[in-house]
């Protein structure tokens, strides 16, 4: 297994915040080469699951997460990234004054250094960039702009997938990458993601709607509700959800 989640619980660590449990015992296994979709209504804990897997600070977490045989929860956020865990953000963050190209090269080289690989020089990097920009139909001007600053909603999401294409993670978690996209942008994002499916890479799609799954076909679909996975199935489960809504599912669990 690439990723093995057992009885994962999480709540906010800050005593001033609402301390109710957000994740209430999640079990999930994802194998290499697989695409899993995690669906669920707002507030079911989808984004918290993504944040906890990526190592965001501010959560009190228990249970175990094994990633490629390592204890993922014991690793810092940047260690996880360097070990091949990638999170496509629901709300990509703006970093004024830092150009996109510089940012990406710094990130890629940090990851390569941690793996003991040589850093890419500017020329090698640029060749890699050009090939992948084409995949997402992004212009080169995007590289010279500050990270996510002044990007349209669609550009931000495509930029996330572009970064994923550059960083070549082993486990990619896409948090609501489809939200706020029009149909053309959705197709481009889906084309990008499909192009990155590979036997040694797992992808976890977190989404509210089924429509993304029309374009990226998952191997497994899980329904997250109130911090628990209440149902799992193949892609037909997504279609069923679309017909019947989330409301009816709690009982089936």
């Amino acid at each position: 297994m690439m990723l093995e989640i057992v009885n994962l619980h999480a709540r906010l660590a800050d005593p001033r915040e609402n301390r109710r449990e957000i994740l209430k015992g999640i079990d999930l296994s994802v194998g290499a080469g697989e695409v899993h979709a995690i669906m669920g209504p707002n507030g079911s804990g989808k984004s918290t699951l993504a944040s906890v897997l990526a190592g965001r600070d501010g959560y009190e977490v228990s249970g175990s997460v094994t990633y490629l045989g390592r204890d993922l929860l014991a690793m810092a956020a940047d260690e996880r990234a360097c070990a091949g865990v990638f999170l496509a953000f629901q709300y990509p963050v703006e970093i004024p004054g830092v150009n996109n190209m510089y940012f990406l090269r710094a990130a890629l080289n940090a990851q390569r250094r941690s793996r003991g690989e040589p850093e890419l020089d500017a020329g090698q990097f640029l060749r890699a960039v050009r090939a992948r920009l084409k995949l997402l139909d992004l212009g080169e001007d995007l590289l010279q702009r500050a990270v996510n600053v002044g990007f349209s909603g669609g550009e931000k999401k495509r930029n996330e997938i572009f970064q994923m294409a550059m960083l070549e993670p082993k486990l990619a978690i896409l948090d609501e990458t489809d939200s706020g996209l029009d149909i053309d942008a959705l197709r481009l994002v889906a084309r990008g993601v499909n192009g990155l499916r590979a036997p040694d890479r797992a992808i976890v799609l977190i989404t509210h709607y089924q429509r993304l799954l029309d374009h990226i076909e998952p191997d497994r679909v899980h329904v997250l509700q109130d911090g628990r996975i209440v149902q799992s199935g193949d892609k037909s489960l997504a279609a069923e959800l679309e017909r019947r809504g989330y409301g009816t599912l709690g009982d089936a669990a």
Binding site: A54, G55, F86, F89, V93, L104, A110
Partner: protein, 484 residues
């Protein structure tokens, strides 16, 4: 006065006696007794073998200073300074100098390493008594010859007084008069040494002045005096300071810098200031009270100040431009960092006197730890300054929740055709930004440095290339340990 002249004569003859043993012996000489009075001034002036007019000039400054009080309008919390307890002339001591890098504080060495300071320079910066210093002097001499061919004068202030008294006398104090302010008056009375440069008409200075001299320049003492003149159509870029942390036994520093740009001339003045900021509680850090001002005397002249201020316990500094010539241009680009207990009150004054004068102010303040950072800026448009324009942008970045950022703009417009714009923002480095960077593989410190350098980009790009790279590293080192 008679007694004073007598003292002065006696001191002078003593000093001259010492001089036969050469310059080295001379700087080994002892200090003036503590305290500041007319005899101290006489002692300093005699020590330096100055002409009568300069001695009188110093005295005038001293007498003005005596009547003045310390400015208290800055947002700075300063422990009382005992001006009569300080020593105003003290030759550098070599007895205690470390003999090799092995004897130097490892913490200091680690910082040099991080800043990428070349090995040879590290020794000199750490004050190691070795021949490295002589290497840089010989390099300096080579460049001096090249400059001399173009008619450029670039030397220590003291040398300028001896070799080019007419230039010094013509310009000294014309931008910052002796009684300008408390600290400028103090400097004028007791200044130790500094730099002088004169670029003749139409000459473009072919190198960044002081790049090769920075180690020596770092030893010019606590009351530094700099005077730069760009004659008609001349151009010069001047670098001051050094990214390496500088320690000094004197806590009080009060420098004065005067720039004069004639018709069509341009002066770019870049500073990286990294004086010892004190320990985590701010104890022992340098007090840096600086008066810097440039006069755009001629039409179409330009002066720009670029500063990266990361050191000192207290910074009080407002590099300014007086835009006298029509169509003259002033600029101020600043990054100021305060961490731990550091306090900075810094900014600029742009005084528009000539027609169609333009000025730009870009200020980036970064506060971390318990640092307090204030931008204070004045834009003044005089009645004759038809068509004057100013653009000001002031951004503050907060790291953590115990620091402070303050913005105090003063705008005085006396001409209705003037256009003055002011933009200001204050933001906090967000957890989101840090997490985003870390999720892509950057460690804590790299993430912080990336975000901060992005914030400062508009200023850093004004620095000469080599300096900019060092300054970027310096920002990262200055903020070490402020997150996580």
């Amino acid at each position: 006065m008679a007694a004073l002249v007598e003292t002065r004569g006696a001191v002078r003859s003593l000093a001259q006696e010492g001089y036969k043993y050469g310059f080295v012996t001379d700087i080994e000489a002892d200090s003036a007794p503590p305290g500041l009075n007319e005899e101290t001034i006489a002692f300093i002036s005699a020590k330096k073998g100055e002409p009568e007019w300069l001695f009188e000039w110093r005295l005038k400054a001293y007498r003005a200073w005596r009547e003045m009080t310390e400015p208290n309008w800055a947002k700075l919390n300063i422990a009382p300074i005992d001006y009569q307890g300080a020593t105003y002339y003290s030759a550098p001591k070599r007895q205690n100098a470390p003999k090799s890098l092995d004897e130097v504080d490892p913490e200091l060495l680690r910082t040099y390493e991080k800043l990428g300071i070349p090995l040879r320079e590290r020794e000199a910066l750490a004050g190691v008594a070795v021949d490295a210093v002589f290497d840089s002097i010989s390099v300096a001499t080579t460049f001096k010859d090249k400059l001399a061919e173009l008619g450029i004068v670039f030397c220590s202030f003291g040398e300028a007084v001896r070799e080019h008294p007419e230039l010094v006398r013509r310009y000294l104090g014309t931008v910052v008069p002796q009684n300008d302010n408390f600290f400028a008056a103090l400097n004028s009375a007791v200044f130790s040494d500094g730099s002088f440069a004169y670029i003749p008409p139409g000459v473009r200075c072919p190198m960044e002045l002081s790049t090769y001299f920075r180690i020596n320049a770092a030893k010019t003492g606590q009351f530094e005096r700099t005077l730069l003149i760009a004659d008609k159509g001349a151009y010069v870029s001047y670098l001051e300071g050094c990214t390496a942390p500088q320690r000094d036994e004197n806590q009080l520093h009060a420098a004065v810098v005067e720039l004069i740009a004639h018709e069509d001339a341009e002066i770019k003045y870049s500073t990286v200031q990294n004086w010892y900021p004190g320990d985590a509680e701010g104890r022992g850090g340098i007090y840096n009270f600086v008066t810097k001002r440039g006069a755009c005397r001629g039409a179409r002249s330009k002066i720009s100040w670029t500063q990266v201020e990361t050191g000192s316990a207290i910074t009080w500094k407002y590099p300014s431009c007086v835009l006298e010539g029509d169509d003259s241009v002033g600029a101020f680009y600043s990054v100021a960092i305060t961490n731990n207990r550091q306090q900075a009150d810094t900014g600029t004054k742009m005084v528009h006197i000539g027609r169609n004068t333009r000025s730009t102010i870009i200020s980036k303040g970064i506060s971390a730890g318990r640092g307090q950072n204030t931008y204070r800026g004045l834009v003044r448009v005089q009645p004759r300054a038809e068509g004057a324009r100013n653009y000001t942008q002031c951004d503050s970045l907060l790291i953590g929740d115990r620091c402070g950022a303050h913005t105090v703009p003063y705008i005085e417009v006396r001409n209705p055709s003037a256009r003055v714009e002011h933009e200001a923002t204050t933001s906090k480095i967000s957890e989101d930004q840090l997490f985003y960077c870390r999720q892509r593989g950057l460690g804590d410190e790299d993430a912080l440095s990336l975000i901060v350098n992005g914030f400062c980009k508009d200023v850093l790009k004004e620095l000469p290339m080599e300096f900019a790279v060092e300054a970027q590293k310096l920002l990262a080192v200055s903020l070490e340990g402020s997150v996580g």
